[in-house]
């Protein structure tokens, strides 16, 4: 956090000065570790084992927060009789589908009990063997301190110290917060890493309370916003799922499946959110008769994530590619494939401040040097469109705590530079103009799309007008055209339009609340009058959980929101995240649904049962509870299960994306080490915003690799000399930093050397500082829930000296692969144990079949 979010770290420093303990778990000793009370060296990619061990420790040592867990989580819920655990199935849950690697979650459901108002069978003593609590306990029963040590490489005494610290620092009086960044997300099980942390925090009663929770330390100014208002294939704004062909053919199908009315919580109002969105997009063309234009929306037929799209480029089935303030030639996994993929496009538009490597790969990329691509043979047209930066346009960023902050425009963009807003507005105007007379039904959605935003004298559309549309407004009645105040005013009948329901209220009363700027020193620590947080300017989510069953704060120290007996309302320092007038004693009534069905002790109001989920009956594609599997290509054989890797991981099969053998398989010794990638304080992501800036470039001017003294001795690496690092995908060179900050760990009976490399450098001639890109070494093995690649624990080898130049580089990598006996199918076995081999064995790779990376024409 001190490395990548230094200014956020001021609050940690302050907490520390007031006596808080800071523990940093990382494969590397970083600037954060330097500030921590304790640094725990972990083997990269084994966080579920550590967190699972902590869960076990907390349960077995009775450190869990009984009242909280019993009433605010689903601990007491009983799970279907058909449910089988990984303990029973050698690492699989019941419902595994060997063809897709996914699960049918039918057996993960709660047992029904018609006598309960919410229909769920429960055992409030938590003793029932099929209660979530007991299932959880059994699931992690083998995650003992010794086992944790064997998997993660963490010394038992370090683990116990950490466990005691966390356990004792949680309860009524105290809370523990966890913060993570890409170290948890960029794994083939990243979602489950975070789930494990969530389970632990629920057990300790740290959710919905001040000083608790899990902080996603997001790395980009509005990466939160770009999920809220998503430019992501699988989502519509406000986390409404994008319609899927076959499942969501009509609006009714969509609503019944995605946001069913018969569940508890606020998602059951999803029809209002969806219809308002359609109204915002298609305006008067969106009527009840045409399902509010639902049919105008395209449909998904599977994953269309960035890596799947890349593979489609090789089929020549993607013509045009917009790259907007992004540098996939450096920043995306398997850089070589990224660049080769782009060489198969007909055209691409790169919008950026600088001539980043994604704009120049066709003449300066590494494949030109190796001869794999020839500039004269590349058909791709490239448009470089200069972009306006944050000072040159107005608009909002949503930061890591969901705070939507408005930026005022300071100056006009120079030269041809334009904002994304202006570029896309202009593109939209041109498209509509060209299609205005079309009678082709395909063009109807574009014709219907509302696109009338006021523009200023420079042609820049008003961001505030767009924000107002995002907020939502009335379409009919006396308030027509006026902004809504909150999402409860969204209606499913077309009388409201709104682009993103969770942002409703940001423009309440016609005031841009994102621009609120009452100085922090003039308000309390919640600072509600500084910008605006979704939802409803609420700063801590699920904050009903900060009060006990009776609605009183768990403790004076930790009070946030409570039930005011006299006024009969929820009140407190934050905007209560609960139906404001619902007393804590309320019980769920039969035949209620939606928000009305929430009981007084259902703090988790977006969940279909109002409870925090220790066990996820739905929503996760790779299991209801996190389970430790080894990362792809791990040198360690999974000590916990015969199943080596996550059976649900998404594999991309291609000659350009081959994997190293794992564990003790033959050839694994060719790529014996594990590398992990990271950000440096001095740079940003793929370098587009830092390697072109003199003041930042000089601070970290060269690509480097961090190795332990032990590995340096073993591999003959010279301090500050060059080293070549190779994976089955490529080879790069870097300056060597030999440091005690890196330490080998012993896991699975093996010494594992971990190597660290920053991910900022890329090959080109335009930036002030350049270097080989570590992402060229990454494979594309994806998390099955969010399709993020595994980048934090990857197999490699390291040797002294610079890498080969020219075509020899390709041959060098090929030879290494050959030496390791790697084929396109290496590492593709879904199941690695011989249980019921006949039915379970999956030998063929899944979905995407081998597109040979074409080069050039």
């Amino acid at each position: 956090m001190a490395e990548a979010h230094p200014v956020g770290f001021q609050w940690v420093a302050e907490a520390k000065a007031r006596g808080a303990k800071l523990v940093h778990v990382d494969p590397r000793f970083t600037r954060t570790s330097a500030m921590a009370d304790k640094h725990v060296h972990i083997r990269a990619g084994t966080d579920i084992a550590l967190l699972g061990g902590l869960i076990r420790h907390v349960i077995e040592n009775d450190m869990w927060f009984k009242e909280y867990v019993t009433h605010y989580t689903n601990a007491a819920h009983l799970v279907d009789e058909g449910y089988q655990d990984t303990e029973d199935l050698d690492g699989l849950f019941s419902g595994f589908d060997k063809d897709t690697g996914g699960y049918d979650n039918a057996t993960w459901q709660y047992e029904k009990d018609p006598y309960e108002a919410d229909g769920i069978a429960k055992d409030m003593t938590l003793q029932h063997p099929r209660s979530v609590f007991q299932i959880l306990r059994r699931h992690y029963s083998r995650y003992t301190p010794e086992m944790v040590g064997n998997v993660t490489g963490i010394k038992t005494e370090d683990f116990l110290e950490l466990a005691e610290l966390i356990g004792k620092n949680s309860g009524r009086e105290r809370t523990t917060v966890m913060a993570y960044a890409l170290g948890w997300t960029q794994h083939s099980m990243g979602s489950q890493f975070i789930r494990t942390a969530a389970i632990l925090q629920l057990l300790l009663g740290n959710m919905g309370r001040p000083g608790g929770g899990i902080m996603a330390l997001r790395g980009h100014a509005t990466i939160q916003g770009s999920s809220d208002i998503p430019t992501l294939f699988n989502l519509l704004p406000g986390y409404l799922p994008f319609p899927v062909a076959g499942k969501h053919d009509t609006l009714r199908d969509y609503l019944d499946d995605a946001v069913p009315k018969d569940q508890k919580g606020f998602w059951s109002n999803g029809d209002a959110y969806m219809v308002s969105l359609l109204k915002a997009w298609f305006g008067d063309d969106a009527t009840e008769e045409n399902d509010f234009g639902y049919q105008y929306l395209p449909r998904l037929t599977g994953a269309h994530g960035t890596y799947q799209t890349l593979m489609r480029m090789f089929d020549k089935s993607v013509d045009g590619y917009f790259v907007l303030g992004q540098n996939p030639a450096v920043g995306s996994a398997n850089g070589r494939m990224q660049r080769l993929g782009m060489s198969n496009l007909k055209w691409m538009v790169v919008r950026d401040f600088q001539l980043i490597e994604t704009a120049t790969w066709w003449k300066e990329g590494p494949e030109i040097a190796t001869g794999e691509l020839k500039t004269e043979d590349i058909a791709t047209e490239v448009f470089f469109m200069p972009a306006a930066n944050h000072t040159e346009k107005a608009g909002t960023f949503t930061q890591t705590q969901r705070l939507v902050q408005w930026r005022h425009q300071a100056i006009t963009p120079p030269g041809d530079a334009r904002s994304e807003l202006e570029f896309f507005y202009d593109l939209g105007v041109r498209l509509k103009e060209k299609l205005k007379d079309s009678t082709d039904p395909r063009d109807k959605p574009l014709q219907a799309m509302t696109w009338d935003y006021p523009v200023d004298e420079h042609g820049e559309p008003s961001a505030e007008a767009v924000l107002k549309e995002i907020n939502g407004y009335y379409t009919t009645g006396p308030n027509a055209g006026k902004p809504v105040d909150n999402f409860n005013q969204y209606k499913a009948d077309g009388s409201t339009a709104g682009g993103c329901w969770i942002y409703a209220g940001v423009y309440a009363g016609g005031i841009n609340h994102a621009a609120n700027r009452v100085p922090g020193k003039d308000q309390d620590e919640m600072a509600h009058q500084w910008a605006w947080a979704w939802p409803a300017n609420r700063r801590i989510l699920y904050n009903r959980a900060s009060a006990d069953l009776d609605g009183n704060p768990w403790s004076e120290r930790k009070k946030l929101v409570w039930w005011d007996e006299e006024q009969e309302v929820w009140t407190g320092k934050d905007v209560p995240d609960f139906p404001i007038k619902r007393p804590p004693s309320t019980k769920t009534a039969h035949d209620t649904h939606g928000p009305d069905a929430l009981a007084g002790d259902d703090p988790f109001i977006m969940q279909s049962d109002g409870k925090g989920w220790l066990f996820a009956p739905k929503g996760m594609n790779d299991g209801p509870m996190p389970t430790h599997f080894e990362p792809a290509e791990s040198p360690v054989t999974n000590p916990l299960y015969p199943q080596q890797e996550s059976p649900s991981r998404v594999l991309i099969t291609s000659r350009g994306n081959q994997l190293a053998p794992a564990g003790d398989q033959p050839g694994a010794e060719v790529f014996p080490h594990v590398f992990t990638t990271y950000r440096l304080t001095e740079h940003q992501t793929a370098g587009g915003m830092s390697r072109f800036l003199p003041y930042l470039s000089e601070l970290q001017p060269e690509m480097f690799v961090e190795v332990s003294q032990e590995l340096a001795a073993e591999a003959g690496l010279e301090p500050y000399g060059w080293a070549t690092i190779a994976s089955p995908r490529g080879a790069i060179e870097a300056k060597v930093l030999v440091t005690q900050r890196m330490q080998p760990v012993v896991a699975g009976g093996k010494t594992v050397h971990q190597i660290g490399m920053p991910f900022h450098f890329g090959v080109g001639n335009q930036a002030l500082v350049t270097g080989d890109s570590v992402n060229d070494l990454l494979g594309m093995t994806l998390d099955p829930n969010v399709y993020i690649q595994s980048a934090k624990a990857v197999a490699c080898t390291i040797m002294p000296g610079r890498r080969p130049r020219g075509p020899a580089l390709v041959k060098f990598v090929e030879d290494l692969r050959e030496q390791a006996g790697i084929t396109v199918l290496t590492g593709h076995r879904r199941l690695t144990f011989e249980r019921d081999a006949e039915t379970m064995e999956v030998s063929d790779p899944p979905t995407l079949t081998d597109p040979e990376p074409h080069t050039g024409e």
């Binding site: 003294q709 340096a712 010279e718 301090p719 000399g721 440091t739 002294p800 080969p804 130049r805 060098f812």
Partner: protein, 365 residues
């Protein structure tokens, strides 16, 4: 490298600096110095754990032999002015003329070198913006200026006479001639500090070898000035009029030999080291040899014009080499932090041993 078949395609490893080889990590020496100074060679020979990657603690001033030349010429000018007054007194007109012209020439030359060494030469006159006793450089500039005025007046008269009063002085001629005696005296009187202040100029710094020479540098520099100025006189003036210069030269040479020994003897050994090693040491050895040769020559052989010229050249060269050696040794002494740290640690320890414990920059309360 197991994959040696590809080594042919791999670029040569850049030659790594020696010091990085076979050294346990964590005890590395640093590379490079501060801003803009990274071309400086690293001090290779000393393993010195308690430093920041072996980087310099104090910085060398941006001075080179232009400043050595300034020091040298300042000495020549000062000494020459003294010889001129004496020569005038005893009626050695050629000696007077030559030393007066040398004095002005050396002043102009020295000033040019000084100006060239400035980062902003056009602001040279800012040196006279203030009168600042705490700054030897400032004092020196005042000295140089007043000396220059005196030396200028008398040299102008000499030139005027040489050219048969062709210099277009007009009505000023009278004034100038009227000031001849005071101007000559001014130059002689200011010539002494002009030659000696440079000792304080170098000593009044944090450069270890210079600061370590604070007790002797001025003495050494006047000796050197005497030697160099009389050397010039020996070169320029017929032997009939050089006797005083020979005496002056001999005195200077003897003193130079004495004080250059004393200089290092009085220093902390680590401060003296840069004078005793490398190029400065070689320069000093040459200077010593030339001083002896020139001194002996001046004392004994200088009735012969050739021998006189040779002795004079030897003495002047010796003086220049001494200045240059001290300049370079000072700059070298900043490169290795050991030259800073060890004398400081020792003096701190010495004070503590004496019971003085309240003057450390490091404290715990």
């Amino acid at each position: 490298m197991t994959l040696s078949e590809f080594d042919a395609y791999r670029p040569e490893n850049e030659p790594r600096r020696k010091r990085r080889r076979n050294r346990p990590p964590g005890k590395r020496r640093g590379g490079g110095n501060g801003d803009g100074a990274r071309e400086m060679p690293m001090v290779e020979d000393v393993e010195f754990a308690d430093s920041y990657y072996g980087r310099p603690i104090v910085k060398a001033p941006p001075w080179d032999d232009k400043i050595s030349a300034y020091l040298f010429l300042g000495g020549v000018a000062g000494g020459s002015a003294m010889l001129a007054v004496g020569a005038d007194r005893i009626g050695f007109d050629k000696l007077r003329r030559n030393t007066r012209l040398t004095a002005l020439g050396a002043t102009i030359g020295g000033t040019v070198f000084l100006i060239l060494d400035l980062g902003r030469p056009e602001r040279f006159h800012h040196m006279l913006r203030t009168f600042k006793p705490a700054s030897p450089m400032n004092m020196g500039t005042w000295i140089l200026s007043s000396f220059g005025m005196g030396a200028g007046v008398v040299a102008a008269i000499e030139v005027d006479q040489l050219t048969g009063q062709k210099i277009p002085l007009g009505v000023l001629r009278k004034v100038v001639y009227a000031f001849e005696k005071p101007a000559a005296l001014l130059a002689a009187v200011m010539g002494a500090p002009l030659a000696s202040y440079t000792g304080a100029l170098l000593a009044d710094t944090s450069v270890p070898t210079w600061n370590g020479g604070k007790d002797n540098l001025s003495y050494l520099f006047v000796s050197s000035a005497a030697m160099a100025s009389s050397g010039f006189a020996l070169i320029t003036t017929p032997t009939s009029q050089t006797r005083p210069a020979r005496t002056f030269a001999t005195l200077g040479a003897v003193a130079e030999l004495f004080f250059s020994e004393k200089l290092t003897a009085d220093m902390h050994p680590v401060e003296a080291e840069p004078l005793q090693t490398g190029r400065p040491a070689r320069k000093l050895r040459w200077a010593q040899a030339l001083t002896i040769a020139g001194g002996v020559g001046a004392a004994l052989l200088s009735r012969n014009r050739i021998a006189a010229i040779a002795s004079g050249t030897a003495l002047a060269t010796a003086s220049m080499l001494t200045r240059s050696a001290i300049m370079e040794a000072g700059i070298n002494s900043t490169k290795d932090p050991r030259h800073v740290v060890e004398p400081q640690r020792d003096r701190l320890a010495a004070r503590r041993a004496k019971g003085i414990v309240d003057d450390s920059i490091t404290t715990v309360g």
